[in-house]
Subunit: 330 residues, 3 copies
Amino acid sequence: MILKGIAPLIVAGPDQLSWLSGEKYRPALEASQAGAVMVPADFEFDRDERPVLLRTERPELAMALAARLFLEPPVHPGRVMEGAVVDSSALVAEGATVYPLAVVEAGAEIGEGAVIHSLAYVGPGVKIGPRTVIQPQAAVLSGVEIGADCLIQAGTVIGADGFRFVQDQEGAHVKIPQMGTVKVEDKVELGANAAVDRAFFGPTLIGRGSKIDNLVQVAHNVRMGPDCALAAQVGISGSTSLGRGCILAGQVGLADHIKLGDRVMIGAQAGVAKSIPSGEMWLGTPAGPARKAARVFASWERLPDLLKRVRALEKKMAELEAGPEEAKEE
Amino acid sequence: MILKGIAPLIVAGPDQLSWLSGEKYRPALEASQAGAVMVPADFEFDRDERPVLLRTERPELAMALAARLFLEPPVHPGRVMEGAVVDSSALVAEGATVYPLAVVEAGAEIGEGAVIHSLAYVGPGVKIGPRTVIQPQAAVLSGVEIGADCLIQAGTVIGADGFRFVQDQEGAHVKIPQMGTVKVEDKVELGANAAVDRAFFGPTLIGRGSKIDNLVQVAHNVRMGPDCALAAQVGISGSTSLGRGCILAGQVGLADHIKLGDRVMIGAQAGVAKSIPSGEMWLGTPAGPARKAARVFASWERLPDLLKRVRALEKKMAELEAGPEEAKEE
Amino acid sequence: MILKGIAPLIVAGPDQLSWLSGEKYRPALEASQAGAVMVPADFEFDRDERPVLLRTERPELAMALAARLFLEPPVHPGRVMEGAVVDSSALVAEGATVYPLAVVEAGAEIGEGAVIHSLAYVGPGVKIGPRTVIQPQAAVLSGVEIGADCLIQAGTVIGADGFRFVQDQEGAHVKIPQMGTVKVEDKVELGANAAVDRAFFGPTLIGRGSKIDNLVQVAHNVRMGPDCALAAQVGISGSTSLGRGCILAGQVGLADHIKLGDRVMIGAQAGVAKSIPSGEMWLGTPAGPARKAARVFASWERLPDLLKRVRALEKKMAELEAGPEEAKEE
C-alpha cells in the first residue's frame, strides 16, 4: 500500500492516511475507506483488514507531523525578482526571495531562504531571519527584528507606535515618542490583520514558538514567554507580561502592567485586571479563578428567582414579626 | 418635476427624493424642502402640495433601491492596466479590470467585469467571479473561490491559515497543516480588515448574500448559510455553523463546534457557548435566551441591595430563633 | 553636561535625561546613572550631586515634550519618487513625498510636507493635509478628507462603506448606498489596522486631536468631539456621538444612535447601550455608572454563597411556620 495523502476519516480513500481523534469517531472509523488510520496506542478494534491501524500515543500530533510529508512544499525562486523595490543598502541573503512589488527599505536584512511576498513591506533596518515568510500586505516597520522560521500572515502590522499620550493643561493628548522596537523570536506565527506595537523603550517581545491568531492586539512593552497561544481578537494592554505556555481564548482582554505566570489559561471573552499565578485557569469579566467564576455564572440565571424568594421571605418575616394572631388571620 | 438625487429629509432640496423611516420623523417631513418623499402606504398627511408623497409598503427598502438610480456607477477601463502584475498563466475575462500595482498570481481566474483594485492581491489558483470587486490591499490567498457580485473591502484577508496546533511533549505548538480553502458564494460583502481562515480540509463557507462588517474573524471550517449579517468585530470559532439569515450584533463571540439554526439573532458582545435552535434571540455572556438574560441583567443592579436584605433577614431570623425575650431585650 | 538622549531611570547613562513618574520609582532614581532627571516640583531628595534634578509640575508631560528634542526627525525626499503611481490630475504640493509603489488616484490633493509611504493608497478626490503621514498599506478611500499633522498608521482603512442593509421580502439584505464621506480633523492619530466607515450621508467625523488605537472600528455617521482617546479594539456603532475628551478603554463597544457627553470615561470591555451625561465614568455590560457597577461586580463573587444563605433562611422559615414543637423535634 502506497499512501499518497492525508484526509479526515469520512473522506479518506484507500490511498490515504487518516487518524482517530477520539472514541466518539469510532463510527466514522468503521465506515472509513482510508488505507491506514493512526489510532491511540490502546485502541481496541476488531476488524483485522483495512484500514491498517497505526498505533501511536497521540494520533492528532502524529497527523500534524505526517501531513507535512504529503504536502508539496511551496517552491520559491530564491532571488530578488523584477518589480521588487529593494534599497541598495539592504542585504538579501542567498536563497531568499523577494517577490514583485514587495518593498525592502534601507539597511534591512533578509535571511537565507526567507520569503517576502508581493505587496509586503519591510521597513528600514528591519531584520528578517532565515526561512521566515512575510505574506502579502504584511508590514514590518522600522527596526523590528524577526527570528528564523516565522510566519507573518497577510495584513499584519509589526512595529506600530505604542498608544501612549499625556494630556496637557488644555486636555490635548501629547504623544510620548515610542523609541523602542519589537523582537519576534524564532518559530513564531502571527495570523492575519494582527497588530504588534513597538515598545516605548527597549523591545516588545514575542517569545519563541508563540502562536498568535488573526486580529490580535499586542501593545507596547508586552513580553510573552515561549510557546504562548493567543486566539483571535485577543487584546493585551501595555507592559503586561505572559510566562511560558499561556493559552488565551478568543476576545480575551488583559489590563496593562499585570503579570501572568506560566501555563495560565484564560477563557473566551474574559477581562483580566489582576496578575495570575502559574498554572491557573481564569474566566469571566472581571476574571477570576475558573471554578469560582463558573459557580458565579451558574448562579446568574437563578438571580431573578432569588429576588422573588427573598421577597417571599421578607413577607413571611413581616408576618412573623407582626405576631401569631395577625399572621393567622390573613 | 425632475428628481436628480436622494437625500435625508432635513437636507433634501426641491429636486431631490427623500423618505420617511417612521412616524417620529413627521416634524422633519413637515419642514422638508424635498421634491418627493416616499412614505408608508397608510401614512396620513394633510398637506396636498409639496412634497409629492410616494406611498410604498417599506420606504426604507424603497430608498435603498431608488438611491441606486441616482448614483453614477463607477466606470472601469475593463482591461489589465499598465503596472498591474499579472502572471502569464492567469485568465482575465473580457471586461475585467486589473489596476496598476494589483497582483494576480499563476492560474488565477478573474471573471467578466470583475475589478481588482491597485495594491490588491489575488493568489495562485484563486477564482474571482463576474462583477466582483476586490478593493485596495485586500488579499485573496491561494486557491480561494469567490462568487459573482461580491464586494471585498480594503484590507480584508481571505484564506489565512486556520489556527490549529497540537502541543508536543515539550509544550511546543505543532501546526496542523491547513489543507482546505474558502468558498465565498455570490452577492457576499465583506467589510474592511476582516479575516476569513481557510479550512483544515474542504472549504470554509460564506453563504450567498451574507454580509460581514469590518474587523470580523471567521475561523477555519465555519459554514454560514445564506443571508447572514455579522456586525463589526464579531468572532466565530472553528467548525461552527450558522443557518440561513442569522444576525449577529457587534463584538459577539461564538465558541467552536456549535450550531446556530436559521434566523438566530445574537445581542452585542454576547459570548455563545452552546448551539441555538432556529428563530431564537440570545444575549449575554455566557449567552442565553433573550427574555431570560434580560431578566438576569435587570436583577444585577439590585444585587448589592439584595445582599443587604438577606443580611437583615438573617439578623431577624437569629433574633426569632433566640426566642421572644432575648429579642425584645436587645 | 551635555545630554544626548532620553531613557528610563534604570537604563539612562550620565549623558542621558530621565524622569520620575511617581514616588514609587524613588529606588530607581537612587540607583540611576542618569545625568539629569525631571522630578515633580515638590519632590524631596537629599543627594546634592548627580543626577541633576529638573523640577517641573508634570514630569511625564515634560518627558514627552523633551523626548522630541532628542529624536532625529525622519528625512523625506520631498517629491514624487520613481515607482510611485500618481494620476496626472492629482495635486501634490511642494515638499510632499510620495514613495515608490504608493498610489494616488485622480483628483487627490496631497498637502505640503505630507508623506505617502510605499504601498499606501490614496483614492480619487481624497484630500491629505499638510505634514500628514500615511503609512504603508493604509487606504484612504474615495473622497475622504484628512487634516493637517495627522498620522494614519499601517493597514488602517478610512472610508469603507457603512454597514447598512434593509431586508427584502425574501430576507435578502439590500445595501443602502453609502453616499457620504469621512472627515478627519487636524492632529488626529489612527493606529494600525483600524477601520473608519464613510457616512450614509454627510461625513463621519473624527474631531481634532483625537487618538485612536489599533483595530478600532468607527461606524458610519459617528461623530467624535476633539481630543477623544479610544484604546485598542473599541467598536463604535452607527450614528453614535462622543463629546470632547472622551476616553474609552480597550474592547469597549458602544451601541448605535447614543450620545456620550464631554469627558466621559468607559472601562475596558464595557458594553454601552444608553447615552451618558458629561463627566461620568461607566463600567460593565450592560454598562452603568462606575460606582454602582463596581458594587455589582463585587457582589457577583458572593452570589453562590448568597444562594446557600437564602436556602438556609427558607428552611428555618419553614420550621418556624411549622410551629415550635415540630421544629424542636427535628
